[in-house]
Symmetry: C2
Subunit: 229 residues, 2 copies
């Protein structure tokens, strides 16, 4: 298996001497900050804030799903190839961030199911909910299988090497589904709130737009070194 992280500078993608993946990683971190800020402004200033009490319970759903799940799992994906550390360190940090991602996705699901239950609404009617629940299920499955194969008890080396590329591709596909879930969720809320023009509409739309750029950046960070070494 190709050792990705340390051979990064050999990639054919360079702009003025700097590997493009370094620029993309930096850009993705900036997007992480921007999206988190926008989302917090939206939830705290326009949507009553965050709490486990029933009126504000809904707000925990986008909070945990977008920041805790999508953004942090994106950082987890990048961490494996971009952190300047030994393979073992990178691997553990990758798992640590994905653990936060998985935990957040479960809290996020709990929040929305409890909110729907408390307000007497039906669950799982929209495309957002279908894609969302598939994403979290596939993510949890990947997490568990990966833990067994790559950590405890851990498979034989040749088997791990053989499974690694599948892990990457499956992971990218699930991350891609996470982005689609978030985008469909944002627009669903946008229409349900009857937003048109104005500050809140712009905040929601810009969150979605930056999230799309975040997804593309992460995809490129992962695909660049794997594809062209």
């Amino acid at each position: 298996m190709v050792e990705k992280g340390n051979s990064r500078s050999r990639g054919s993608y360079r702009t003025a001497g700097v590997p493009v993946s370094t620029l993309l990683t930096f850009f993705a971190h900036l997007l992480f900050i921007a999206i988190t800020t926008l989302l917090l402004v939206w939830l705290l200033q326009f949507r009553d804030g965050l709490s486990f009490t029933s009126t504000k319970l809904f707000n925990l759903h986008p909070f945990f799903m977008i920041i805790g799940f999508v953004l942090i799992s994106g950082e987890a994906i990048m961490a494996f190839t971009t952190i300047p550390a030994k393979r073992r360190t990178r691997k553990y940090f990758h798992m640590f961030l994905h653990s936060i991602g998985l935990g957040s996705s479960i809290v996020g699901l709990f929040a929305i199911f409890k909110f729907q239950h408390d307000t007497g609404k039906s669950n799982l009617l929209t495309l957002h909910s279908w894609i969302g629940i598939s994403t979290v299920s596939l993510y949890a499955l990947l997490y568990i299988v990966s833990l067994l194969v790559f950590f405890f008890p851990g498979a034989q080396n040749w088997r791990r090497a053989r499974l690694a590329p599948w892990h990457v591709l499956y992971g990218i596909a699930v991350f891609f589904m996470g982005i689609v879930s978030a985008e469909t969720g944002l627009i669903q809320k946008f229409i349900a709130l009857g937003l048109q023009k104005g500050q809140e509409a712009l905040i929601v739309n810009f969150t979605g737009l930056l999230l799309l750029l975040f997804g593309i950046s992460i995809g490129l960070v992962v695909l660049l070194p794997v594809s062209y070494y």
Copy 2:
């Protein structure tokens, strides 16, 4: 540059002797047929049908965008690596399908702008419209630049070889944006129509779900051979 199409069987991804990319291509074609069928049932049976007259004008938007743009450009992407023909033939067919994709996206945009104008609605308020118009613009840009670089007048060979991987990555990113545009559009219409349960709701949701699988299949078809030869 690696000659992808003919060395496909050397890929490390095989299931019972059949390259996984062959199975995925077959699966993607099936999804093409299923999505087209669902969408036509939706537009013809539930939504008054297709026509350039004002009440049915809206329906041309999903028709041209999903079938003409997203599905056909997906086929165009696969065509380059999967058609059992000479490189030159694959390249021309790739361009031919993308020409249909570009034409469709322009007609699809025209349909929705004219519909909004005729019904006195504002344009470009939602995340769907923002992502959608960005997608079509970036797609048109890629089409024109690719035509100049790879067809007429055509750049020098070493320059084409150098630009080819960028063309692939940029193309995947735009295709990914096309999928997100379609998903956000479907859910926006779903909420605006007030759909809940029932046949029409299921048809719209399944169209979205299959479209997501189509996107993932195409992504894998392109990424598998490039990544692991």
